[in-house]
Symmetry: C2
């Protein structure tokens, strides 16, 4: 906790937490407090939980950060090796910051059905999928600290599902968040990438999208949907939406970042090869957006000389450089 | 989010999050990244997740806040009706603040066994147990906002168990937290009350304990354990510890607060009657601590003219008064 020595204090006008979205299930019958049974009682479900911080003299548009699969708001907070994450980096730049725990994850609500949390050891699998290491071997020159406590912290920020993942539930909750806070910029990662586009179609308060390594849910207009793409990790399918809905995404600037270690041709290792068709489909998505008058861009970080990034550029060793890249883009788009 | 208008900004030197404590389970065999199976993989379990904020010119001793049953760090953050909770109230007073999600809750780690999360409607039961309402009737003059959005938010701060509750796992994780941060003051609530005493026996870095409405786990020296006590909600049993361990609690100041609506004689309503033997046993606990030279006190809030408090005094409508009471006690004990 010494990494902020010499840094200026952060001045907050306000901070807090609230739940947003979700539903209520209610058991039949009437509740009797003198003989309490399930009858007539409620269970509030499917909300997102939002932590926010507002700096003094905040910029007009807040940043809303949405985590990926198996993650929570932790993705955007302190890095596994103990440095400041995007939450504090962008707060220092004067942005209001909202962090999401999506429905059925972390401090988000549970779902309407009883569910089971497995205790299956699977962390090395994910370290591969996240392009940090292949088995015991870190990726070459990876921008991930190799100290054992860093891996310990990284593994411990993984969080199980409290219920089935449901894109409709998730996008409704995040749309409700934008109803509450008004205009803002959505930043997504991995599994929330595709859900972010669906949410922006639902809610015009989303004025821009920054997405790190979207993993699925690329939307295309009906009739222009690319064929499924194969990799050593499985099949990637695009998602058809109506032309009217697709055109909503041409009204806001969109930027997509991918990191390093993504092969150009098929690789037998699932962890790297998984991302090959995703990068290809992201480029098709951007082409389609721009064909209809939109403003979208894919930045493959090695292509601009930034090497060694994993699936988590926001917490890699060069995350300040990654943040400045995003900051520069926001500036260019007049969103600062 | 307008409740801070006119308030001074909060100046932070540092903020962040980390995991602490816990264990690792590892599947037998060797992991093969080219053919990933469970073999040889790990699962990190049983850690607490800690959010901290350090104000500029922080006081020497940080405050460490531990939630109760079915709760997370949310207990100490924004109140259900949208006002500042103890996190921000005490940050404004210049204390460093650490908020716990205990193992197997919220952003804390899962346990070593597969576990099931029920989706059983039970919220009205808990509203009774928390002395907020009996069925549809709020407690008379209760210091809990009656707007529907307040109840909505309150219900949505309830969080399920990610694994079996295990006091040994919990107290080990919180002891590891005090190993990491050094001397501090532990503030507990309800289910963490008893665990707080056990943690203070384990770790002498805990220099004082403030507890709101401890619900179980009152420790007594072997041979001085009171008989079990009955209420309309069930049986309350004291916990024997060695005399040597018990005496450790006589070395630190301890204060215990209970709110309103606790009957003096048996009441048929489980929600109020549950707390009657707890208040009685808390007084016995304090007498025993003080008999051996300690410094403990029970404050029954109605007894000093503060009425209408529920089981959650830290978020009731008078929570600033409740915070000032705690602040005054810390001052009196030279802990400020």
């Amino acid at each position: 906790m010494a990494q902020t020595e010499g840094k200026k204090p952060i001045s907050l006008q306000d901070q807090g937490v609230f739940a947003v979205g979700g539903g209520i299930i209610k058991a039949e019958g009437e509740y009797d407090p003198n003989n309490p049974k399930k009858d007539g009682q409620t269970l509030h479900i499917d909300h997102a939980t939002i932590h926010y911080q507002i700096p003094i003299n905040a910029k007009k548009l807040p940043l809303v950060f949405w985590h990926g699969f198996g993650q929570t708001a932790r993705t955007w907070q302190t890095t596994a090796d103990g440095r400041e994450g995007f939450q504090t980096i962008f707060l220092r730049k004067g942005f209001s910051v909202y962090l999401i725990d999506q429905p059925r994850r972390g401090q988000g609500g549970r779902g309407p059905e009883e569910t089971s949390i497995p205790a299956t050891p699977n962390e090395q699998y994910w370290l591969g999928m996240f392009r940090i290491a292949k088995g015991d071997e870190f990726m070459p020159n990876v921008k991930f600290d190799k100290g054992p406590e860093t891996l310990n912290q990284f593994y411990r920020q993984i969080s199980p599902d409290l219920g089935a993942i449901d894109f409709e539930v998730n996008t409704n909750a995040i749309s409700a968040l934008f109803d509450k806070i008004g205009d803002g910029i959505l930043i997504t990662h991995s599994h929330s990438g595709g859900q972010g586009w669906t949410t922006a179609i639902k809610n015009s308060n989303i004025k821009a999208i920054v997405t790190y390594e979207p993993g699925s849910g690329f939307v295309f207009p009906e009739g222009e949907v690319p064929d499924p793409m194969e990799s050593s990790a499985g099949t990637l399918e695009a998602v058809p939406v109506s032309k009217i809905d697709f055109l909503k995404l041409t009204k806001i600037p969109i930027i997509i970042y991918y990191g390093d270690f993504i092969p150009e041709t098929q690789d037998s290792f699932y962890g790297t090869d998984n991302w090959r068709p995703r990068l290809v489909m992201a480029k098709l998505f951007v082409e389609t957006i721009n064909k209809y008058g939109g403003d979208a861009k894919v930045v493959h970080l090695p292509g601009i000389g930034i090497k060694g990034n994993t699936h988590f550029p926001m917490s890699d060793l060069n995350n300040i450089e990654i943040a400045n890249l995003m900051y520069g883009w926001l500036n260019d788009k007049g969103l600062n």
